[in-house]
Structure formats: C-alpha cells, structure tokens
Amino acid sequence: MPQLSELTAAVAAGKRTDTVRLTQELLAAGSAPQDIVEKGLVPGMAIVGEQFKKNEIFVPEMLVAARAMKEALKLLEPLLASAGIKPKYTAIIGTVQGDLHDIGKNLISMMWRGANFAVIDLGTNVSADKYLAAAKEHNANLVGLSALLTTTMPAMKDTVRILKAAGLSTKIMVGGAPITQAFADEIGADGYAADAGTAVDIAKKLVGQAA
C-alpha cells in the first residue's frame, strides 16, 4: 500500500498519471477518501502554493499540479458525496462587472479547490446582485472578486459595498493586476492577495475568522 506522502509528492510534482494511480491504490487498500484528500492531495497543493510564492515554480507547474489533483478528485468526489462529506468551506469567485478577464480568477479558483474549498465560479462580468445571490444560495464563507482593469475597480468597490450592506458573515477577498492592499482597505474588503499562493493563505485565514 502506498503512503499518503507519496501521493502528496506526486501532486506537488504535477504527475497526473502517478497521482491517479496512487489514489486508486490507496482506495483499494482501504484508505478513507477524506483522508486521501486532506492528508494526501491538499498537502501537495500546499507545497505548490509555497513554491509559487517564492518563485521556485511558475504558472505551468501550478497548472499541472492542479490538473493532477482534479483527476484524483474525479475518483474521490462520488465516494465523498455518497458518504455525505463536503468541503468545510465554500467560496464564490468571479470577475467583477465590466471585466471579461479570467485567467487570474481561474488560477485562484484552482488553488482554492486545491486547498479543499468548494468553489462556485460565477465567470466574468459578474454583477453585485449575482455575487450576493450566490453567496446567499450557497451560504458561502468567502467571496472572491477579481478585476484586471483600472476602469473596473469602481465595480469592485460597489460590489463590496452591496455585499457588506446585506449583512452576511461572508468574508470578501479581492485581487487582480491593479488592486493593492491600500485599495482593498479603502473599499472595505476583508482580504487582498497579490498572487495565487498567497490567496490560499489569506482565504484560510479569513474563513477561520468567519467560522
């Protein structure tokens, strides 16, 4: 029977075939699906996030690691669902109204999934009302807002205002090329991350506070 640490190493290295094989072997040997996720796959993506923050790896390596984890989750999610096991935290993510850019948002989404968040991706050009409705519907712990353009930063500000005014306990996190910590503070967001690795740390911190 393989060790969970082998699975962690396979995910971190982005070895998709090995990740799937090890997941199958662990399941066959009787490992609990939840343990495989929480003690095998998630630590692998955590390594990826740390390496990414330090520029030891770059976006391609992050993508192949996320794809490896995704393939393993295809095997595990039906088993988790049938056992009634869900990720502890739910996040909503989208690019704000007026902005069609999506690669940054997609990377954060992958990394949050890698940290075992349930992620609902609303896509691009998302109105404040749509964020609010999704946050309510999914009882989200976290809402992530992305903006690429300086011209869509006001939409981010409006969305934060509307979400805050609704009185939800949901934490709000912002990011994107023109966004800074100062802007996040100014508009009342709960968190800001400059990169996809940091986005996981901040998200965990925020939902820990919210929980």
Partner: protein, 356 residues
C-alpha cells in the same frame, strides 16, 4: 534634432536635446479628452505630446485572416469565432480585454493538421504599399520609423490559449517550440515583404506580454528554452538590417532582463510600475545595455494628483536620463480616469524634467 536622431542617439547613449516621447491611450480616454478640449483623435494627442515614433505596420498573422463569425450576442457583448479559430467574447462599443471562451486549435493534432498548414499558407496580412506610405510620412516628420508585430509568446496565447500552452510547456514541449517557430517564420516573412518596398525602417517593436504582477508567467528556464531562441532570431534579423529592437511586455520581468539583453533586445517598454518594476532600481545596473522606455505609473496618473505625478516623473526621469538611454511612455495605456487637463500638465512635467 529630429525625432529619429533623438531616438537613435538614445540607443547610442549619446546626448540628446530631450528624451524621446511616445504614449498609448485607451479609446475611452480619447473620447473623454475630446469632451475636454482635445481637437481630434489619438494622432492629435500624440502630436500634442510631440511623439518621436512612426509605426509602419502591425503583423499578427492568423491562419484564417478573413474569419470573423458572430456566434452569439447579448445586450453588452458579442462572441465571435476569430481568425485564429478561437471563440472570443468582446464588449459592444467599448474597449477592454476580451474573454477567451474556447480555442479551435485545442490539440497537437489540430495544430498539425489544420492550423499550422493554414498559417503557413495564409496570404500576407499587412499592406506593404501602405507601410511604405507611412514610412514616407515618418521621414517627412523626422520620426523614428518601426515595424511592429507580435512575438511567439503572445502568439502561443492567442493560438491555443493560456492553459493549453502553459501545460504543453511541460507535457508537449516540441509543440510549443513549433508554434513559436512557425509564427516567427511568418512574421519575419511579412516584414521582408514590407522591406521589399525599398524602405529602411529604424527599428522593430515587438509585443508579447509574458509576465504579470508577481513574475513571468513561465519560469526563466522555460522562457529560455521555448521562446528566447526565436526572440534572438528576431533581434538578429533586425540587427542585420541596421534596426534596433524594442520589446514590449507588461508585468514583472526583472528576473529575465539578462536574457533580454542576451537575446539582443535594445530597449524594454513599457516597464509596468504596478507590477513592481521601477527603473530607479535597475536603470543603474542595466541602463547601459538595455534602454528603458516608460515606467510612468498610470495608477498615479489616474489620481489626477499633480504633485504626486510630478514626483513620479521627476524621479524616474532622473534615473533613466542618467544612462542617456531613456524615453517617456506611460507604464501601460493612459486610462480614462486621467483628465485632459492632467495629461496637459503631464506634458508640462515632461518638458520640465525631460530636457538634457
């Protein structure tokens, strides 16, 4: 001193009367400025700035240059299948980065069987005679004339999409090399056709956004392996024709400046401040080998806070001009938050601090 002389002296690190100038504006910025006093258009704003640069052509070759098929639309956006086979969603009636919904060239097999042969067989996608007319205009105005187009990194993104090409860098590296090389073949063939009109441009300005705020999108090692050889080839092609090379990329590229120099790039533009690029830090180290073009922070411009903008210009000009290898450009495109009065004040600051 003409603009052409000024820019060439900048590349030679010789004294100039003032720094060369150029800029880029969002369409919405020009629309705003027209309400606030700008008489005409983008060209008028560049005349007001006293731009020293004259573009001749733009080469971004596509496999199916005539293809633009409307697939769907709503009140705000239109979605097309474009000349590269991609499905792309654009805003109606305003600018902005489009959304790439999907890519026709979604596998090595699709590239080999459809897109590669189509790209190689596609007709010339610039008008050499129009380029020659622009060259004559540039010469009359004394401007520095340049060919421009897209390099391999940007071509990869457009042809197969970010996720596919980044994964392919690990899982199918030969595919990545082939796309970059074929694209470069076609771009250089295009430029040769323009030069066949008998013109002698001063430079080549190539575009490829290979970084974002945090770092380069791929590692320096991957850049060196997959894209850099074709960058070097483009620079050698230009240098063999007595042209200088300006490379445009957004994002934080401080980790690959040595590779740019080794490729033969003569100048970096626009040096994006919000990505942490600051010529005050690296002009003293790199300025003798790599001219710096830009770095004036549009986020500061967008505040319309004139003392803040003046300090930005004063300090960065001082750092750049110390090398004699510096030209003014905003660090991206001037956004519509910047008023016409503010931009006129910016030109005043350029006049005040940009003279040698």
């Amino acid at each position: 001193m003409t603009g052409c002389e000024r820019v060439n002296r900048m590349f030679a690190r010789q004294d100039q009367d003032r720094i060369p100038r150029c800029d880029t504006f969002w369409p919405e910025t020009i629309t705003r400025w027209q309400r606030e006093g700008l008489l005409w258009d983008h060209e008028d704003a560049l005349l007001f700035l006293q731009s020293d640069f004259q573009p001749l052509c733009w080469s971004w070759p596509a496999p199916f240059p005539q293809q633009k098929e409307l697939i769907t639309q709503d009140t705000e956006t239109e979605t097309y299948r474009d000349a590269w086979g991609g499905v792309v969603r654009y805003w109606k009636g305003r600018s902005g980065t489009p959304e790439h919904v999907g890519f026709g060239c979604d596998s090595r097999a699709a590239w080999d069987k459809i897109y590669r042969p189509a790209l190689l067989a596609a007709p010339l996608q610039v008008n050499p005679k129009l380029s020659a007319l622009r060259y004559q205009k540039g010469r009359q105005l004394g401007r520095w004339t340049f060919l421009s187009g897209v390099e391999g990194f940007e071509a990869l993104r457009k042809q197969i999409g970010d996720e596919a090409f980044l994964v392919a860098m690990i899982e199918d590296p030969d595919w990545v090399r082939d796309i970059v090389q074929v694209h470069t073949d076609v771009v250089l063939r295009t430029f040769d056709a323009v030069l066949a009109e008998g013109i002698k441009p001063d430079g080549l300005w190539i575009y490829g956004d290979m970084a974002y705020n945090h770092a380069t999108i791929c590692s320096p090692a991957m850049y060196r392996e997959f894209v850099w050889p074709q960058h070097k080839r483009m620079a050698e092609w230009a240098h063999a024709r007595d042209m200088r090379v300006i490379y445009h990329t957004d994002g934080r590229v401080s980790g690959v400046l040595d590779l740019y120099i080794a490729a033969g790039f003569d100048c970096l533009q626009p040096i994006e401040a919000k990505a942490g690029m600051d010529i005050r830090q690296f002009a003293p180290t790199y300025g003798d080998r790599l001219a710096m073009f830009g770095n004036i922070d549009v986020m500061k411009m967008a505040t319309n806070n004139l003392p803040l903008i003046e300090e930005e210009i004063r300090t960065k000009f001082a750092a750049g001009m110390a090398t004699r290898g510096y030209a003014y450009h905003s660090d991206h495109s001037v956004p519509p938050q910047v008023s016409w009065d503010t931009y006129r004040a910016i030109i005043g600051f350029i006049d005040r601090y940009g003279n040698y």
